[in-house]
């Protein structure tokens, strides 16, 4: 007989054994990491290329369809990746009751900043 059938659902949940959902998170963190390699390198190279340039040239840069698209992709991948990483940091180092407040803050904060960044980029690209 399958050993898991002998144990009650509660016994399987408490203490040992995973929720069997960890692989999805692990994989998503890797996918976002792979996406961030070219996106961040593009961003750093662009910033270097725009060293000392003024407001207008910066706006013109973001307005180019490719730059705007890459900036939005960067923001989404960055905060997606940050949410995973910071969640692990909070889970590993904060053991007080504040842990849950931090987990919620990390998740919602990353979502909020990604959205704010995307909206700002679209405003520059479409309205600016």
């Amino acid at each position: 007989m399958d050993r898991q059938e002998v144990r009650s659902p509660l016994a399987r949940a408490i203490g040992f054994g995973s929720a069997k959902a960890g692989v999805g998170e692990w994989w998503a963190e890797r996918v976002s990491a792979v996406a961030l390699v070219p996106l961040t390198l593009w961003f750093v190279a662009s910033i270097i290329a725009h060293s000392g340039s003024d407001y207008l040239s910066f706006i013109t840069w973001i307005r180019a369809p490719l730059a705007g698209t890459l900036m939005i992709l960067l923001l989404m991948a960055l905060f997606h990746h940050a949410a995973f990483g910071l969640t692990v940091v909070v889970e590993d180092y904060i053991h007080s009751g504040a842990k849950f407040a931090w987990l919620i803050t990390v998740r919602l904060g990353c979502f909020a900043f990604a959205t704010a960044g995307v909206v700002a980029t679209l405003r520059i690209a479409l309205l600016g």
């Binding site: 990491a33 390699v37 990483g85 940091v89």
Partner: protein, 236 residues
């Protein structure tokens, strides 16, 4: 079968001692051994099994079975004052985590007990330092992401707001933060690529781990320097 016999013997030999402990249930629990008698390791084991040390519920703990007996077998039994010290410390832990013990929470030892992996007694190694740096730089880079969003929002708001943020960035404190952020970025990037290689189950030999570790450090420093030199060259 042989294993079961061995187990049976072990339990059998322990049972009487456990029963002796039951008689001591009524002795005052003020954290010090009963006066006038030399405490033994078995008394401490009894305290552990009664859940008085606070890190376990009251239950027979086979893991505590070798307590004292190994030293006895080796011909160097613990002296009574050593045992008394151990009992005092264990029961002190039990008192500080009394609430945890009363709530039947297992594994929540006293706050004074050092936490594994006892980081304060280990010599830092390249592997451990890079491991924690990957998390620290990741946290720093999230803050940089927030600054990026503020920067974009300022640019979207107009030239005035953009000028304010730009002034802060090119100020000396801003430049130092930016330099640190650049190094944090390259360290996290190279460390992350190292992690992705590990995810393919490659590069786990000790020698390879140290080679890749020092490569991460060297390449990060080189890329940071290159980025800033290029930036100054672009600025003209």
């Amino acid at each position: 079968m042989k294993l079961r016999e061995a187990d049976g013997t072990a339990f059998g030999s322990n049972r009487p001692k456990e029963t002796t402990m039951d008689h001591k249930e009524d002795r005052p629990r003020n954290g010090s051994p009963p006066s006038g008698s030399a405490p033994t390791a078995q008394e401490l084991k009894g305290d552990i099994d009664k859940g008085r040390t606070g890190d376990k519920v009251a239950s027979y703990d086979p893991g505590a079975a070798p307590l004292g007996t190994d030293d006895e077998a080796a011909g160097t039994p613990d002296t009574p004052d050593r045992v008394a010290l151990a009992i005092r410390q264990e029961l002190e832990n039990g008192r500080t985590s009394g609430r945890a013990a009363s709530q039947n929470r297992v594994g929540d030892a006293g706050s004074r007990r050092p936490k594994s992996p006892n980081i304060q007694i280990y010599r830092p190694q390249l592997t451990s330092v890079l491991s924690i740096l990957n998390r620290i730089t990741g946290t720093i880079l999230t803050a940089c992401g927030v600054i990026l969003v503020i920067w974009l929002m300022a640019a979207a708001a107009g030239p005035g707001a953009y000028a304010v943020v730009q002034q802060a960035i090119i100020s000396w404190p801003g430049r130092i933060v930016l330099l640190a952020a650049t190094f944090a970025f390259f360290l996290h990037l190279c460390g992350g690529i190292r992690h992705l290689v590990w995810d393919t189950v490659h590069g786990f030999e000790l020698r390879t781990i140290y080679i890749s570790g020092w490569t991460v450090v060297g390449v990060s420093i080189a890329l940071t320097a290159a980025a800033w030199v290029l930036s100054f060259l672009m600025k003209g």
